[in-house]
């Protein structure tokens, strides 16, 4: 997986256990991703928690129109929001799960996963039981 390039720079940290990078505003509120342009100067980058709770989820069963650029043929996927406690609720792909596995509030953990043959993206998966 190390051969894959991140789908965009600055989304997650480059470390053994990568973390999403959010932006903390002066009022303490955290946003994701770190904004572009002039707004970037108004936030301080902050590495986010790798663990959170499922806030909501849905399925994507049909191929989105452009600018979607996923692998062909289209593979249905899951997506949702994960609440990182005290930080921010982030929208994310959900991997290693089926709709039947998903319960709002369940523990989730961060992962970097292949997006296509050349790129990686971020996702969350149900937390593995120890």
């Amino acid at each position: 997986m190390s051969a894959l390039a991140p789908i965009a720079p600055g989304l997650w940290t480059d470390e053994a256990e990568p973390r999403l990078i959010g932006g903390r505003r002066a009022d303490g509120e955290i946003v994701f991703p770190v904004p572009d342009g002039d707004a970037a100067a108004l936030v301080e980058p902050v590495a986010l928690s790798r663990k959170g709770a499922l806030w909501s989820w849905t399925t994507q069963g049909f191929e989105p129109k452009e600018p979607y650029s996923g692998p062909q043929p289209f593979q249905p996927f899951l997506l949702g929001y994960v609440e990182l406690p005290g930080e921010v609720i982030v929208e994310t792909r959900i991997v290693d799960a089926t709709p039947d596995d998903l319960i709002i509030g369940m523990p989730m953990e961060f992962a970097v996963v292949p997006f296509d043959d050349t790129r990686s993206t971020y996702a969350f998966r149900p937390e593995r039981q120890p």
């Binding site: 789908i7 965009a8 989304l11 959010g22 509120e29 955290i30 946003v31 994701f32 991703p33 572009d36 806030w55 909501s56 989820w57 849905t58 399925t59 994507q60 069963g61 049909f62 989105p64 129109k65 452009e66 600018p67 979607y68 650029s69 996923g70 996927f77 997506l79 949702g80 929001y81 609440e83 990182l84 406690p85 005290g86 930080e87 921010v88 609720i89 982030v90 929208e91 792909r93 709709p99 709002i104 997006f115 993206t121």
Partner: protein, 382 residues
Amino acid sequence: MSDDVYIIGAGIHPFGRTDGRSGRDQGVFAVREALADAGIAWSDVEFAYGGSAAAGSADIMVNELGLTSVPFINVANGCATGGSALTAAQNAIAAGACDIALAVGFDKHPRGAFNAKPADYGLPDWYGETGMMLTTQFFALKIQRYMALHGISRRTLGLVAEKAFRNGTLCDHAWRRSPVDLDTILNAPMVNDPLTKYMFCSPAEGAVALVLASARKVRELGADAVRIASVAFRTRPEGSFEVFAPSISVGGGGKPTEIASKAAFEMAGIGPEDVSVAQLQDTESGAEIMHMAENGFCADGEQEHWLAEGWSEIGGRLPVNTDGGCLACGEPIGASGLRQVYENTVQLRGRGGERQVPNDPKVGYSHVYGAPGLSAVAILER
């Protein structure tokens, strides 16, 4: 009040698909219907506001309607285009700038879900590339959580759609004119869980025009008038959960619909219990359910009982989306919000025919909601 504003004419071009007729021509059709309904000529219109999201500028309509030198302001405000035109027309009359104003909205969209470009919404390209920038996902994610928190069942989602198609069969401007049974709705292909194909509205075509007038003009014309008790248009507050949101605040926040609704009720000096008929934004089944609560008509979770008991049916305690709403009419963005006001005007004048709400409805409530987090509420009184 001396600055009361009234609707004296309402016109609509049937919603759906009209091959061979441009969106703007559908707008011209609706304007002519509204003028005829008001019993006035185009040359009597002193100010005009209008627009579309995808079918061009409204002011070009003067080519067909007549070059009367009328000031015509184009409105381009996404899902709030119609609501913005109505707000502006009402303000022009209330301010005393004119006695007769027009608000018109029209549109014509290609088939299939709307596709948005990340840069237009200030979002990075990867958000679209990875397939997370779909409006349908937002609605599914919002109702999925709402159902878990407030005990709303999938069957209730289906009942909303079933009602919409049933009402559409009674409505001559609706697109979908055939009933769809509950099992078909529930077992249809899933678009985004928990919402199936029949629970989503589709982009469409159509146009609506409304002629507004001052109290003085209403008396002069002896018009069949409906009073605009209030119009409130609001954008999103801090922390609200809206379409195209890569992140949401953990602190939660307000909702543009709640804010617009509260303001509209306050201006009108009435409450939800006074409303006799309501048109609520139903981009999909779940939206109607959540908007029942966001607009103050019930508490979160009570919709389960409302739908089971048929309280939002045409004969129920609060009929909702009497013309089939977006689900049966489709959603031409520029016209959709004005369609709701059109339908309330029809209902308050008692001209609903087969879909007429019984017992002389006195108060009509309409609510439009759209990207990127805006809401407009209009309350009409008879």
